[in-house]
Subunit: 425 residues, 3 copies
């Protein structure tokens, strides 16, 4: 029998740790995947019944197109490696082209394939943020084109600035899991497209702002719970290993911020509207989650609670503000992702281990740069599409609902019959 050396035993121990680290990245991938279901359910619940099939269709296509385009170009734009890489832009080639070394050895704490699929799931979430904000009046084709360009080009470029070792990384900008790089980015794109698109018919009338409530609150609540569920992978996986201390802390800060976000939104919306508004509380949870994302590994529990609480309090004010300036966002995506994303990014300079005036300034520069680039990109694309082929369905189609006009279908066929029979009597 061969004698085992301590060196061999150490290698086996390292291999066992690698197995666990890689497994966590894969499980985190599964959790981030669920966020796509969460967004689908949330957005479907918050739109009117007549636009439900449309929103589900868009969300199913986004995850599909997102993964394929991220495979084709996005991954190599975001992590260009040595190939053509600058601090602002670089490109490592088309498709997935792992080198021998990538495949046979550990790629950090995980494999090349695990890295791709985790990052790909992340990338597709950015486009999903847009779909809710532009719901109920955007044409399907233009929307899919915008979403594709966002995932394939815009998101990887700004993502590379920090996570691919670009200029924001070099200047000390910190964004742990993407308050800016995913959420503010997606929110800025949403805002740009909403401006090009204009509000829904009947939303802002001479007699005031008309609320257009969602058609299925259980669906919306399921969506928010599933998003929180997925966020354990979104933030927890961003540790990029199963490191016990870091992942555990991230779970605590993420959960406490979400909980505090609910309470913050509850209090402010009760004081402002004297009613218990479920959609505010749900968006408060999301605001808390977005807010903690930039610094989830840098905070203690008290800071996490404060960050989430403030994010939750921001939500009702922000929703009202956007309505006042006639930015019509049916699901509140700009408030949740853009506003709380900026807040969370700045919070890294205010709370926790990295707090400091210098850091705060760096955070401000970083988040504004990403938002400005994304807004410009998305505005440009949406504007060109509007001029070229039109971006919005006709008034008649909008009033009839996109389910019939774009899909020739209805989400609840039997109920449609009841409603129809009723209206003709």
């Amino acid at each position: 029998m061969e004698t085992i050396t301590a060196q061999q035993a150490m290698e086996a121990a390292n291999q066992a740790a690698f197995l666990t680290n890689n497994l966590w990245i894969l499980i985190a991938t599964v959790l981030v995947f669920v966020m796509h279901l969460g967004f689908s359910a949330l957005e479907a619940g918050f739109v009117q019944r007549k636009n439900t099939v449309n929103i589900l269709f868009k969300n199913a296509m986004i995850i599909a197109i997102g993964l394929l385009t991220y495979c084709l170009v996005g991954f190599n734009l975001m992590y260009p490696g040595a190939d053509f890489a600058g601090k602002f832009f670089g490109f490592g080639g088309f498709g997935l082209n792992p080198s021998e070394a990538d495949l046979t050895s550990a790629y950090g704490n995980y494999t090349y394939w695990a890295d791709f699929i985790f990052q790909g799931m992340f990338a597709a979430t950015a486009a999903t943020i847009v779909s809710g904000a532009v719901a109920e009046r955007i044409k399907l084709g233009p929307f899919l084109l915008i979403a594709t360009l966002l995932v394939a080009i815009c998101y990887p470029i700004t993502g590379m600035w920090k996570w691919g070792g670009g200029w924001l990384d070099a200047m000390g900008f910190y964004d742990f899991a993407g308050s800016t790089l995913v959420h503010a980015m997606g929110g800025a794109a949403a805002l740009a497209v909403v401006i090009v698109l204009g509000p829904r018919i009947g939303k802002y009338t001479e007699s005031g702002i008309k609320p257009i409530p969602g058609h299925n609150m259980p669906l919306a609540a399921i969506g928010v719970f599933l998003l929180w569920f997925g966020w354990f992978g979104f933030n927890g996986g961003s540790v990029l290993s199963a490191d016990a201390a870091s992942v555990s802390l991230v779970f605590v800060t993420t959960s406490l911020a979400a909980a505090a976000g609910a309470v913050g939104a509850f209090i402010v919306s009760y004081l402002k509207f004297k009613s218990h508004d479920l959609s505010m509380v749900l968006n408060g949870i999301l605001g808390g989650l977005v807010g903690i994302t930039a610094g989830a590994d840098q905070m203690g529990p008290t800071s996490a609670i404060l960050i989430g609480f403030i994010a939750g309090m921001i939500i009702p004010f922000s929703v009202i503000f956007f309505d006042k300036i006639k930015i019509d966002d049916p699901v509140g995506a700009t408030s949740v992702h853009l506003v709380c994303g900026i807040w969370g990014t700045l919070a890294v300079g205010i709370f926790g281990k990295m707090a400091g005036m210098g850091q705060l300034l760096t955070q401000l520069i970083g988040t504004l740069s990403v938002c400005a680039f994304t807004f410009t990109f998305a505005f440009g694309v949406a504007f060109l599409i509007k001029k070229a082929v039109g971006i919005r369905v006709s008034e008649e189609e909008e009033e009839r609902g996109l389910d019939v006009s774009e899909h020739g279908a209805s989400a609840y066929q039997d109920m449609e019959n009841i409603a129809y029979n009723f209206s003709v009597k």
Copy 2:
């Protein structure tokens, strides 16, 4: 190059095992989190349409308040450590105050933070059990106050009796994952509040007991599947490590008991009602899960099947019994959690490795003590609230539905319009 010693290799191997153990506690936390979504969906499905927003709102707030109060006091009440600890009551201080040793070294098989977040998710489930039983007529504010006090004070105290090393632990009481400490406890609290509250208007009439069916059975079914899903973490995580033999066995016993619970409820409800009652089968699954929870690590597959089967058979009898004595529980929470929780606790003394007359007696003492303490606590709190500010909405509000009266909203806006237009014609 430094030479690696066997000692160093052993430490690396232990560290790798620690990584996996900690990761499992975190993943189990995520699964237990999903139970809150499961409860939300189940309860929303089992109530009338007009109370849907209300039940979703309560469930979203419970998880938020539950985590925050468990952070503030609950965790330190339940695991008081050396500070001020008696066998009946102890308190380790406010907030999360890990010592240096807690943070820098392994805390058992996992970190201090993993311990907190896993236990916190558990704690919040106990309050969720109450929300279904008291649905459709409790005021929102009083409910939230009761839920808060349960999570913050009552649950940690009785939990400490066993899991914090208190008097029940000292006398040999066994409750692996909480048939008593979570489920019977939550069920006893539910029963107390239901008694203070009284039945829904129109439930018990002179002409007999009127069934008030739930408004959305797919939602209820989704809830039960998600609860089973989460139970893998609830029971599996209670091993407190990823120990291969124990966690695997727990998965088998948990699943077989759930399956047998469905069959038990199916058979009894078919024999009694000559119909295939979905809500009985769904509650049978839950009954089986609650029943196996106390001894999931102590049973072989046959015992697990028997425990679950009996729990499932109990459900229809228990539901009918509570209706006969005019305890109005819209979702059957007392039958599932209180009755099957007590059954499961006793089953540890009847089946499996610990079976024996002495153990059975200990189990009886343990479960009755926890139930009695909790019932008294919850009854007292609910009674005081009732006297001070009232606990129940007005008759008019109840008939109109809590969605409108408490939230000024409706869960399915479009459908509301159909119903409204119909009623005015």
Copy 3:
């Protein structure tokens, strides 16, 4: 202090790796469990409102009966071990009877109990495939009998041919995670029962084929997302360890095939119907997932995309084909599971590491053998039941809906009231 030897350190390292491997099989079990919820939601969404309780009831009972019968006989039929094992049939006894060696030592990369529960969850999915295809007109009792016999006897026998070391395994047939052994098998059984059963009333009329749209598209979409979610465990767990390279690759191929399936179905259904058909895209995702399942560990990303894309393109053609020959399958289960299952099995001989004429032929023999055996088994059972006690509800019951006739219930009670009140006016 004892000195630690390198041998001891190596054993500890191996034990740590075993812990992770076993944990992954258990987590994969949890994910496969979610597929039962996915099927429930998908099928409930695709049937008419009046048959919703029925489909939920069947799915809840299938997972229960499936696990119990797999425990009683299935597991020992599929993996007979040394007892009475031939290449075509073998049986290792009733119940779970682990030997001392099974329990005390590692059973491959996981425990005996982990093996059982993972395989049991798999087994139950095969029966679930049938329930959608036969929905809206099959009697409950006969259905449950057919499902039980499929899980208890048919699935383990054909499964043993490959995974239990039977004749297909000996001849080099490859089916990584069950394109044939689970999906084509379930689809072939579905086809057989559908033929015995006949189409729904009013589906194929003299004036043409009448579409009968599903009643709840968000439910169907949730189902598909959850199935994809579960597929990470279905395919990822089939690696039978947490091997970093294999599981990571399987995650990538599985996701890319699902994404390409959506795009393939999107394109073909748009070209054929000039509309954006959500149900086609959802089934395209499932087709891609079924297609990649046989070779998920053998493909690079490009092959995976091609396999999924072709599977997605097959879906609309297949759905139309089955409608033309008057095979009435309300959810498209035969197209998704049978047709794409065969395609995916053949694809192992066309793409990836094992491609070759000989392999293609072996794949063809394997998939046709399993389909032929299963079809014959299911047809025989269904035919005998039809002759003995009848398999189909009466015309009146079918038109009224199975919820009322089999369960005396309705899935959406309040809505029922609206519809009823409307119809009597």
